[in-house]
């Protein structure tokens, strides 16, 4: 489990650590109910387009599911984890 004191990763850092391709992330995003196109997914993760809390959480979960499949936990934070 991710330790409480361990800083949570943002989308870009989580994506880098995962080693996934953006097509892989798009497919995972589809599987968790997301609707963004594959180019949009990449633009959101790279911070090129602004992202709302829900879209952020969908992508965060998609990346976290990769780590869960690899036997890990949920290193990427959700919108509720971000300082307001």
């Amino acid at each position: 489990m991710t330790a409480p004191h361990e800083p949570r990763l943002d989308l870009a850092a989580g994506m880098t650590r995962s080693g996934m391709s953006f097509y892989d992330l798009w497919l995972r995003q589809i599987s968790v109910g997301g609707d963004a196109g594959v180019v949009e997914v990449e633009a959101y993760v790279l911070g090129l387009l602004s992202i709302d809390d829900h879209q952020h959480d969908v992508l965060a979960q998609a990346i976290n599911e990769h780590f869960v499949d690899e036997g890990g936990d949920h290193p990427v934070g959700y919108s509720i984890d971000r300082p307001r």
């Binding site: 391709s21 953006f22 097509y23 589809i30 109910g33 633009a43 976290n64 869960v68």
Partner: protein, 233 residues
């Protein structure tokens, strides 16, 4: 911006390299162009692009969830008008959805979403790519609409990014992804109903619970649905 302004922007951008120099510029123009797909004909309700990557199909962008859902239905079956347009580089239209027999998986999904006709046309100078248009009315894409759609396709082709590459493990994943998608959406619907919250709030609760419980979001969703079934029995 109204449609005329959007057309002016999109058409100008096809001739002005400085307007398409960056990925963000191209993505924004792509979104604007896909929005124009809703004005092609009365009753247009969705517009998307299909690209072929290896043996897989992807949607780089869609105007709305409806268009994405209809694209995904075709990708899961590896068949449908957008898939056919990518494969043979020809225009594929469905005039009356309920009478179409060629693509059963797609037509079932289309009818369920209230879509009664569609048009997929290949993108100029882009191999194995198509612009897809979906409409609520039958025979929505008459000749004038097709001419406008062809212009839109030429514009869209200028705004697309470099193709992305699927990994080996992802190549056979679309059908499984769609099954999981239905699971998540069912669980969100159940939780939203039970807790009096909206779907987005339901998703966030499920996501956070997957972290708390150190498990997959799909396990959480299955548990939500199983608990609901037990309570109802």
């Amino acid at each position: 911006m109204n449609n005329e302004d959007d057309w002016a922007l999109v058409v100008q951008a096809t001739a002005s390299p400085e307007l398409t120099a960056t990925p963000v510029q191209r993505l924004r123009l792509l979104h604007t162009a896909l929005g124009l797909g809703h004005s092609i004909t009365a009753g247009s309700v969705g517009c998307s692009v299909t690209l072929t990557v290896g043996s897989e199909f992807v949607t780089p962008a869609a105007s709305n969830e409806l268009a994405m859902e209809l694209d995904l239905a075709q990708y899961a079956a590896a068949d449908g008008p957008c898939v056919a347009a990518c494969r043979d580089g020809a225009e594929h239209s469905i005039v009356v959805m309920s009478e179409e027999n060629l693509y059963p998986a797609f037509t079932v999904a289309a009818v369920q979403h209230g879509v009664r006709s569609s048009l997929s046309l290949p993108l100029p100078a882009l191999p194995s790519a198509a612009l897809n248009l979906y409409a609520r009315s039958q025979n929505a894409f008459e000749p004038d609409a097709r001419t406008t759609a062809a212009l839109l396709a030429r514009c869209v082709a200028r705004f697309l990014p470099e193709p992305v590459s699927p990994s080996q493990s992802a190549r056979s994943g679309m059908a499984a992804a769609l099954e999981r998608r239905r699971l998540v959406r069912s669980a969100c619907t159940r939780l939203a109903h039970d807790e009096g919250i909206d779907m987005e709030q339901a998703f966030t609760r499920i996501a956070v619970r997957s972290r708390t419980d150190q498990c997959s979001v799909f396990d959480v969703c299955a548990d939500i649905l199983a608990t609901g079934a037990q309570e109802r029995s």
